[in-house]
């Protein structure tokens, strides 16, 4: 297993360098003078010279690329003109919002998508099957931002006077301040005195509410998370349901399932322990591949639901032509995508020994 992990790690190194090369090359495609493009109005001759010196823009391209890689390894992704702060700091501040949204959307997609897929495979060609496939087809055809807008309209306008009313924006109700877990645990008194890691962790609202045993914050977070998670999770849900269905259908027709039935096992055991267990392998891959969709979904929906994650930041960066920010977000997301797919590969190897050996 260790050998397998090492091999996979080494195999992904060239891709990492490739990702860096692409973002590096994109930086050189900015029309006009890179310094003035990146620094905007603040670019005087003196600042430009300092900038060129700092990023080695007067050096040969290969040397610049090495500097770029070095900066990346040290966490220097440049400064954002829009926010006037280092891109990395901004990313660390806002990542929890996006990660929380992506995880909730994924949980929703998996918890609903897999059972739907299994059910429609088991009841092949029934009304449930046809219904699920219609929903799955429509689900992948909807623009995620439009679905978000429609959900916001449905749940906060049309259902305003019912118990189903949900807040259309924000992460928590306005005006309510929940204590961070480091304050409750007396690790730090306020944000100034807390370490970066503590602040980072406390920004995960679900985690914070659990660590502080704060029921009110938990409920508030859930209420605000439902609509964005539904919007972002619908496309992965549709894809997961379709893949699960076809995978389970294939497995259900195999001999060992018949054998299991012939042994007199209960139908539930046959389907869940024998068929589904083997059918879920391709689903794991699809879940990993959907990460890209989740991030794109988050980018497009965060602005709609007023969530200040990296998607909202990217949106603001695009509007302000903040090249460093857009480049930085793309780079970090691609690297995260790479790491997650590596993780999926490893899980896959763990689940299916044949892959490990080959």
């Amino acid at each position: 297993m260790l050998n397998f992990i090492l091999r996979r790690l080494i195999a992904s190194l060239p891709v990492l360098i490739g990702i860096l090369a692409v973002t590096f090359a994109l930086g050189h495609l900015i029309p006009g003078d890179p310094c003035r493009a990146l620094l905007g109005e603040k670019a005087t001759d003196a600042t430009c010279n300092a900038f060129i010196e700092r990023y080695g823009l007067n050096k040969p391209l290969p040397q610049q690329f090495v500097t770029y890689m070095g900066n990346f390894v040290q966490g220097d992704l440049g400064n954002s003109i829009r926010f006037g702060r280092p891109v990395l700091t901004l990313l660390v501040e806002r990542l929890p919002v996006t990660i929380e949204l992506a995880i909730c959307a994924l949980i929703f997609a998996v918890l609903v998508g897999i059972p739907l897929g299994i059910l429609s495979a088991y009841r092949h060609n029934s009304a449930i099957d046809v219904g699920t496939m219609v929903i799955a087809n429509v689900g992948v055809s909807m623009p995620v931002f439009w679905l978000g807008l429609m959900l916001a309209f449905l749940f906060s306008v049309l259902l305003k006077d019912t118990i189903f009313v949900l807040p259309p924006s924000g992460r928590l109700s306005p005006g309510v301040d929940y204590p961070a877990f480091y304050q409750v645990w007396h690790l730090a008194t306020d944000e100034q005195s807390a370490s970066g890691l503590l602040i980072f962790l406390s920004r995960f609202n679900f985690l914070n509410s659990l660590l502080t045993a704060n029921g009110a914050q938990f409920v508030d977070t859930v209420r605000h998370m439902i609509l964005p998670a539904l919007a972002v999770g619908t496309i992965p849900l549709s894809i997961i349901a379709r893949i699960t269905r076809s995978s389970v259908l294939e497995v259900l027709g195999q001999d060992y399932v018949r054998t299991a039935r012939a042994k007199g096992l209960r139908e539930l055991t046959v389907v869940l322990s024998h068929a589904v267990r083997n059918a879920l392998l391709p689903v794991v891959t699809i879940i990993g591949l959907n990460f890209g969709g989740l991030i794109s979904g988050a980018v497009l929906t965060e602005t709609i639901f007023g969530l200040s994650g990296i998607g909202k930041m990217l949106f603001d960066g695009i509007t302000a032509r903040d090249y460093s920010l857009v480049q930085g977000v793309t780079l970090v997301t691609a690297v995260a995508f790479l790491v997650i797919n590596l993780g999926v590969d490893l899980i896959y190897g763990f689940l299916d020994p044949r892959i490990r050996v080959s």
Binding site: L29, G292, L300, I318
Partner: protein
């Protein structure tokens, strides 16, 4: 001497008759597939609307209704007005947008923009993808390795995000959005063609063609290419749907079509802050996008089933 006619016999590509049969068979299978028929009807309908947009539309897509005869009341963002709904003023089936332009007309003209962006970007992607895939698969060795690793890098990015970055850097606009969508789609097609080439190039008839002295280009384009395109048809159809979605997303972010071009994503972008007061501005363009993407997805799925030998020729 008797070997020569055999070689020539083999050198004659089986492509022609086989592909004609395949085409006929595919078409028959397609007509048996419910989702494919639904997809074909939807796409046919959309193509009709796009071609005859000036005839179908009721107004000018970029003309404000303010000051026009028969228009009364507050015009910007006006709700749909239909006699059937008890409204006897000037008829605007989908209402007016925030600049008091007829929304129905803009949605109709939006079909043109979206279909052309989808078709154009995927055609470009297929062209370059096919070229790369053919070269990569046929050349093999380090050329193949290098090209495939390069495409792996493009695939390592979430595609929409890479498109966003490209357009941000090159500047917003429909052409740049189209190019960006094409660039991020190339690897998929290149890989598909490469996989087909790898299996086709080992076939006897290719060996026979080579033995009678055909050049590399001839072998590649006349003899190998016609036998590799079927997976591209399926992927291309599904790809148009994705391209329409991506183009709408780029326009929604302000990176694609610029006002006053009627484009669905751009219309949603303009209307999103008025969701609670004029929901019809968000509803209709979104439904239009959904129907379009659904049409291509249904047809793509149907084509996949129709072309899948395991399902029909076993």
């Amino acid at each position: 001497m008797s070997a020569a006619p055999d070689v020539l016999q083999l050198a004659r590509p089986p492509a022609k008759t086989a592909s004609q049969n395949l085409l006929l068979e595919t078409f028959k299978n397609l007509l048996r597939n419910r989702s494919a028929i639904a997809g074909l009807i939807i796409i046919g309908f959309l193509v009709f609307i796009a071609v005859f947009a000036p005839q179908v539309a009721t107004h000018n897509p970029i003309q404000s209704m303010i000051g026009q005869p028969g228009e009364v009341g507050k015009l910007p963002g006006k709700a749909p007005c239909l006699i059937a709904l008890g409204c006897f003023e000037a008829q605007h089936i989908m209402g007016l947008d925030l600049n008091a332009r007829d929304l129905f007309t803009r949605v109709i003209y939006g079909t043109r923009t979206s279909l052309s962006v989808g078709l154009a970007s995927i055609s470009i992607a297929i062209f370059f993808g096919t070229l790369l895939g053919l070269v990569s698969g046929y050349a093999g060795g380090w050329v193949d390795n290098l090209l495939m690793r390069l495409l792996d890098v493009v695939l390592a990015f979430p595609s929409l995000l890479l498109a966003i970055t490209i357009v941000t850097i090159r500047g917003p606009g429909l052409e740049n959005a189209l190019a960006a969508i094409a660039i991020v789609s190339i690897p998929v097609y290149a890989r598909l063609i490469r996989a087909s080439v790898l299996s086709v190039k080992e076939m006897e008839y290719v060996l026979a063609v080579r033995s009678v002295g055909a050049g590399t280009l001839r072998i590649l384009f006349i003899h190998i290419f016609p036998n590799t395109w079927t997976p591209i048809i399926v992927q291309g159809t599904l790809g148009i749907g994705t391209a329409v979605l991506d183009a709408a997303a780029l326009s929604f972010l302000g990176l694609g079509a610029q006002p006053p071009t009627p484009e669905w994503g751009q219309m949603l972008s303009e209307a999103r802050n008025y969701l609670f007061t004029s929901p019809h501005l968000v509803l209709f363009p979104g439904i239009a996008i959904m129907i379009t993407v659904l049409g291509f997805n249904l047809l793509g799925d149907g084509l996949r089933d129709a072309l899948d030998p395991r399902l029909h020729r076993s």
